[in-house]
């Protein structure tokens, strides 16, 4: 699952995920019917419109054994919200079946592939933002850090208050801009506190938000998806 942001704004993240997963021996497909999971509409109070997107999404992945998402919030949308979008019956069962096969990228590596060793070197000082939906709806806690721990040369600095929301919240960022800005400023302050050169994340919406503010504040911190770190440092 490349996601709408992954397709349009962050194709390199998807490419990195493909490289890493293939490197780990996974056979990949990109069902062309996928576009957006419908989360933007759903979160703004348009569940009917979201349901249209969800139906197309479920159809697109009908034949996929596993669906690996490069964004945690999109995986969470499928796992947590898709079933409830449909009335009880075959449509809901299909949604539940997709939910059961859908994983966020780091979750797939840790829980399904059970990766315990990675041929990766990436010398840099790095910190990580946990992303609310990935943390709270998917329950992804130490997995990503375990993966970063396998990276040679990575100087990992825990982010203070990593569990705090970055303030994106979808349309919240433009509906409540003052509050969103206050939250992202706090997040940026914490990132800068660590002295890290790289901020790593699991969700492109959060990364887009934090990166945008880091740049505006003139901070020289690179922002990378976990897959980009793993792909860049991959030793063939």
């Amino acid at each position: 699952m490349i996601t709408c942001l992954g397709d349009a704004l962050y194709p390199a993240v998807g490419e990195s995920a493909v490289k890493v997963l293939r490197g780990l021996g996974v056979t990949l497909d990109f069902p062309a019917g996928q576009t957006c999971c419908g989360q933007p509409a759903f979160n703004s109070g348009y569940p009917d419109e979201a349901r249209h997107s969800a139906r197309a999404f479920i159809d697109a992945f009908a034949d996929s054994e596993y669906v690996v998402s490069v964004s945690g919030s999109c995986a969470a949308m499928v796992r947590h919200h898709y079933p409830g979008l449909f009335p009880e019956g075959p449509a809901r069962r299909r949604a539940e079946a997709l939910a059961a096969r859908t994983f966020e990228f780091s979750q797939f590596l840790v829980d399904v592939l059970r990766v315990d060793d990675l041929p990766i070197a990436y010398p840099a000082a790095a910190t990580m933002h946990h992303s609310c939906h990935t943390l709270r709806l998917l329950g992804v806690k130490d997995g990503p850090e375990r993966l970063l721990d396998m990276v040679d040369g990575l100087d990992y600095r825990p982010l203070p208050r990593a569990q705090d929301c970055c303030g994106f919240g979808g349309t919240f960022a433009v509906k409540m801009p003052m509050v969103s800005e206050a939250l992202v400023d706090r997040k940026v302050d914490h990132v800068l506190e660590t002295g890290a050169d790289v901020l790593v994340g699991l969700d492109m919406s959060c990364l887009m938000n934090i990166e945008g503010r880091l740049r505006r504040r003139g901070a020289r911190v690179a922002v990378k998806h976990l897959a980009e770190i793993l792909a860049a440092g991959w030793r063939e």
Binding site: T35, C36, G45, P47, G169, V174, R213
Partner: protein, 474 residues
């Protein structure tokens, strides 16, 4: 066109965010409250089992509310108390007015009660010429400033020691030290006089125990006991959903309320009041009146919003909410602040006048995770947003936009064309792949952040091109 309440909201939010001292204090407060909450709940063997137990008993009680209300009322009356079921705030106020008149009360002491603020009781009493004194220290303070409470359990959270010193010094008519103990001592002296002289005491109810008709009060200051024992008449005002079936469930509810809300294993005082003074009692009021307030709660029963009635008013949601930490309590424009306020206020008072509340959330879920009663706050906020849209309270342009977006998501070729168009449109505005100033609604983003421009070639284009396929060819 911004509604008047949205203008007020924005003004309050702007003021709060610009107040650096308050922002730092709210951040410190939340960090302390979160740690206390986590530590106290962490002492329990299996906190998730405790949360399940609280959620289950509260859900069960709410699902059978008529039965438990009847049982509670019968037991209160059986012990010699009076019970009045008020359908509306006006009915509740009218009953209290009758009792106050009948008792010719001139001075009333009040324990902390959110529901009495909800029904706007104090203004009515004051209009009757009665002196009403809030006895919870935080409520006492905001009563003097005339402000709404800032937090469900910490009404004066936003005030500094210096501000309280100034306030009390004005009241005292002399300069008091900016010392917490000295200021608390002043409040204690003032309140002592009032407790001893009061004709009538009004309290809230933390929990009503149906099996024995008992009113449970949870305080740290003892004002609950003093205001309900010394005056001759006690009026307890309770939201109809604040019941528990029995004392065994009280063990669970009390444990979770104090540990989650203040990080305490138990509050300093837990008062259990069953009926007015009996012949064999040393003290207690001659009369007990329990006013059960509906005021829109029964409308919530049987709907998708029913889970919010499980709330035990611990305040954890506000303690964990990043939005609350930025906007503060007054932005909610309601006696109920924080995430649960954002859900409850539109439900009790209607969406009109509160339509910004369900949107004042990034849906991060910290509140849902913190709630000891497992109220699914983020899901309820989403439902309110859907209701706001369905009832035409959101701009039509957004619906058009999302319909168009939905159409594009079901047609990959249309999606692809849209992505390419966006990339082309953005190009002249972008430098280094980022846009610094975007038009329209995106301008709200670029006012504070750079906006990543769409990539030259989308992922699906790269995938389709064998020369850009990483690793093995498709």
């Amino acid at each position: 066109m911004r509604s008047p309440e949205r203008e007020r909201f924005d003004a309050t939010v702007a003021r709060t965010i610009a107040d650096r001292r308050l922002q730092d204090w709210l951040a410190d407060f939340q960090a302390l409250a979160q740690e206390a909450h986590d530590d106290a709940l962490g002492e329990l063997d299996d906190v998730e089992a405790w949360r399940d137990a609280l959620s289950d008993v509260r859900a069960h009680t709410v699902a059978h509310l008529d039965h438990y209300l009847e049982q509670f009322a019968a037991n209160v009356e059986g012990h010699g108390g009076h019970v009045f079921l008020a359908a509306t705030a006006a009915d509740a106020r009218a009953y209290v007015r009758r009792v106050v008149r009948e008792k010719q009360a001139r001075l009333i002491v009040k324990g902390k009660s959110m529901v009495t603020a909800e029904i706007e009781l104090n203004p009515m009493l004051e209009a009757m010429g009665v002196e009403v004194v809030e006895t919870d220290l935080g409520e006492f303070i905001v009563q003097l400033t005339g402000e709404a409470p800032y937090h469900i359990i910490a009404p004066a959270l936003h005030m500094t020691l210096g501000q309280i010193r100034d306030l009390f010094s004005r009241e005292a008519g002399s300069e008091l030290p900016a010392d917490a103990d000295a200021l608390a001592a002043y409040a204690r002296r003032r309140l002592r006089e009032k407790f001893l002289a009061a004709d009538l005491g009004i309290s809230g109810v933390n929990f009503g125990i149906a099996s024995t008709g008992t009113v449970i009060l949870v305080t740290n200051e003892g004002n609950g006991r003093l205001s309900t024992t010394l005056p001759r008449t006690h009026v307890a005002v309770m939201g109809i959903e604040r019941l528990l079936p029995d004392w065994q469930s009280l063990d669970c509810a009390l444990t979770m309320l104090t540990r989650a809300g203040t990080g305490q294993r138990i509050s300093t005082y837990v008062s259990a009041i069953t009926g007015p003074r009996r012949e064999t009692d040393e003290d207690g009021p001659d009369e007990l009146h329990v006013v059960l307030v509906d005021n829109g709660r029964s409308r919530i029963l049987g709907t998708k919003y029913e889970p919010v009635l499980k709330c035990v008013r611990c305040g954890s949601c506000a303690d964990f909410c990043p939005v609350y930490g930025a906007i503060g309590g007054h932005a909610y424009d309601s006696v109920y602040t924080g995430p649960v306020g954002a859900v409850l206020t539109p439900l009790l008072d209607g969406l009109d006048g509160h339509v910004e509340l369900p949107y004042a959330s990034s849906l991060c879920g910290a509140c849902r995770d913190a709630c000891p009663a497992r109220v699914p706050l983020t899901d309820l906020l989403l439902e309110l947003r859907a209701d706001a849209v369905r009832s035409g309270r959101q701009p039509a342009s957004w619906r058009v936009g999302f319909r168009g977006y939905a159409a594009a998501t079901t047609r990959p070729s249309m999606w692809d064309a849209g992505v390419r168009a966006a990339a082309t449109l953005a190009r002249p505005f972008a430098r280094d792949g980022f846009v610094r100033s975007a038009p329209g609604v995106l301008g709200k983003w670029t006012a504070a952040r750079d906006l990543r421009a769409p990539a030259r070639r989308s992922f699906r284009r790269r995938w389709r091109d064998p020369s850009t396929q990483p690793g093995e060819r498709r």
